[in-house]
C-alpha cells in the first residue's frame, strides 16, 4: 500500500462537514482531509496517507531524528577522509 508522507499545512478550511486543508509536499500543494487531526494548526507538519492527515508530527522529536542524520553525515565524512589518508 502507498506509504504515508509528511507535508506542511498551508491552509485550513471546511468542505461540507469535513475539515480540509492544503498541504505543501516540498513545493507540490495538495488538498487533504484534516478531519482526523482537528488539533492541527497552519504551519505544522502532518503525516498524509491516501489524502488524509493521520498524525501531527512532533517537531522536537523530528529535530532529534534530523540530528541523528547529521551525525551520520559527519561520521560518513570522517570515515571517507580516513580512507583518503
Amino acid at each position: 500500500m502507498c506509504l504515508s508522507i509528511p507535508g506542511k499545512i498551508t491552509e485550513i478550511y471546511t468542505d461540507g462537514s469535513l475539515l480540509m486543508g492544503k498541504v505543501d509536499f516540498g513545493g507540490a500543494l495538495k488538498e487533504v482531509c484534516l478531519d482526523y487531526v482537528p488539533e492541527a494548526q497552519k504551519g505544522q507538519y502532518v503525516l498524509i496517507h491516501v489524502g488524509f492527515a493521520i498524525s501531527v508530527l512532533d517537531e522536537e522529536e523530528a529535530q532529534e531524528t534530523l540530528s541523528t542524520l547529521r551525525e551520520m553525515a559527519a561520521l560518513d565524512e570522517e570515515l571517507s577522509s580516513d580512507e583518503i589518508r
Binding site: M1, S17, V32, C33, D35, G51, F52, A62, T65, M72
Partner: protein, 300 residues
C-alpha cells in the same frame, strides 16, 4: 495480503458495464486468477485510479447514472480514510456508491506468525504508520506473551536503522518490550478520532490472508447497518473458488520462513512488471525489494 478470490470478486464487479471501479493505484497490477484490473480496463472496463477515497465519492456524485465501487483495502492505515468515505456517502445520501472491503490488521497476523511452530521471527519492526493510527498499546501484551521485542519504526532510512538498532539492543540485553522508535509520529494510544470512525463503520471479521490462510478476527468488514454500501451484496457476486499459483511461495515469505530468491519463479516468471504473487507488486513488497536491491546474482 488480499486473497485471490477477493480480487476475483472485485474483478467481476469491475467488468460490469454499469460500474465505474475505483482503486488505489497499487491494486491495479495485483493479479487475480486470470486477469488484473489493468486487463479489465484494457478490455473497456471503466477502472479509475484515485489518490483518496473521497475522490471516489466525487466520481459517484458526478455520475449519478453509474454505480461507483471503491476497492477499500489495506492495513489499519487506510481504514480511517476508507471508513470516512462510507460515512460521508451515508451522510450525503449518495446511493450509487459502494465498497469492496478487504481490510487486514497487523496484531492478529503477528500472533499467527509467533504462535506457529515453524516461527523464526526473533523481533518485529512494527509499521510506524499503522501505529500512527492505532497506537502501539496492542503490542505490549504480544511482546510479553511471546517474549519478542516489537519496535515501532518509521520509514525513512534513518528511522529504519533506529528501529533495527533498538531491536538488536533489546535482543542483546535479553529484553522483550514494545518500544516506540518513531516518537515524532506515534503515541501509545494512536489517533483516537480516526479509531472512532473506523469502529463506527467497520467491525472485526475473520479474514483469509493470501498465501497464509484464515486468521480469526484479523480483518475489518462493514457493520450490518452499513450493508447497503457493500458492493459484493449489491451485485450479488456470490462464491468464487480460486486456486493460487502452486509455484508462488508468498505465504512462506510473509512468515519469514523463506527468502524471495528461494522461490522457483522469482525473477523469472515473477517480476515487478508481471507479478505472480502479491509481495512482487508494490515497491515495499519483500519480493519486489529483493528484485530491485538484491546483489548476489550480479556478483556471482
Amino acid at each position: 495480503m488480499t486473497p485471490l478470490e477477493q480480487i476475483d470478486r472485485a474483478l467481476a464487479i469491475a467488468k460490469r458495464p454499469d460500474v465505474i471501479f475505483t482503486s488505489y493505484g497499487d491494486m491495479l497490477r495485483v493479479p487475480g486468477s486470470t486477469v488484473d484490473l489493468f486487463n479489465v480496463r484494457a478490455k473497456g472496463g471503466d477502472v479509475r485510479v484515485v489518490y483518496s477515497p473521497l475522490e471516489s465519492l466525487k466520481i459517484a456524485q458526478a455520475n449519478p447514472d453509474k454505480e461507483v465501487v471503491f476497492f477499500a483495502i489495506g492495513f489499519e492505515t487506510t481504514a480511517p480514510p476508507n471508513a470516512m468515505a462510507v460515512q460521508q456517502a451515508q451522510k450525503q445520501n449518495i446511493k450509487n456508491f459502494s465498497v469492496v472491503v478487504s481490510h487486514v490488521c497487523v496484531p492478529p497476523a503477528m500472533e499467527a506468525i509467533l504462535s506457529s511452530k515453524k516461527n523464526r521471527v526473533q523481533a518485529f519492526l512494527a509499521a510506524g504508520h499503522v501505529c500512527a493510527v492505532m497506537g502501539y498499546h496492542e503490542y505490549l501484551p504480544i511482546s510479553q506473551k511471546y517474549k519478542v521485542p516489537i519496535v515501532v519504526t518509521g520509514f525513512e532510512p534513518v528511522d529504519l536503522l533506529r528501529g533495527v538498532l533498538a531491536a538488536v539492543k533489546q535482543l542483546e540485553a535479553g529484553q522483550a518490550e514494545a518500544e516506540n522508535a518513531y516518537t515524532r509520529a506515534v503515541t501509545l494510544e494512536g489517533n483516537l478520532p480516526a479509531q472512532k470512525v473506523v469502529n463506527t463503520i467497520f467491525q472485526p471479521v475473520d479474514r483469509k490472508w493470501r498465501g497464509i490462510g484464515m486468521i480469526p478476527l484479523s480483518g475489518l468488514g462493514l457493520r450490518p447497518e452499513f450493508e447497503s454500501f457493500d458492493a459484493e451484496k449489491k451485485f450479488s457476486v456470490g462464491e468464487i473458488i480460486t486456486q493460487e499459483s502452486p509455484l508462488c511461495i508468498a505465504g512462506e515469505i510473509l512468515q519469514g520462513l523463506k527468502k524471495p530468491p528461494q522461490c522457483s519463479v522469482f525473477g523469472k516468471e515473477c517480476t515487478p512488471s508481471s507479478p505472480v504473487g502479491a509481495p512482487m507488486v508494490s515497491a515495499e513488497g519483500a519480493c519486489s525489494a529483493y528484485y530491485r536491491y538484491h546483489r548476489e546474482e550480479v556478483s556471482a
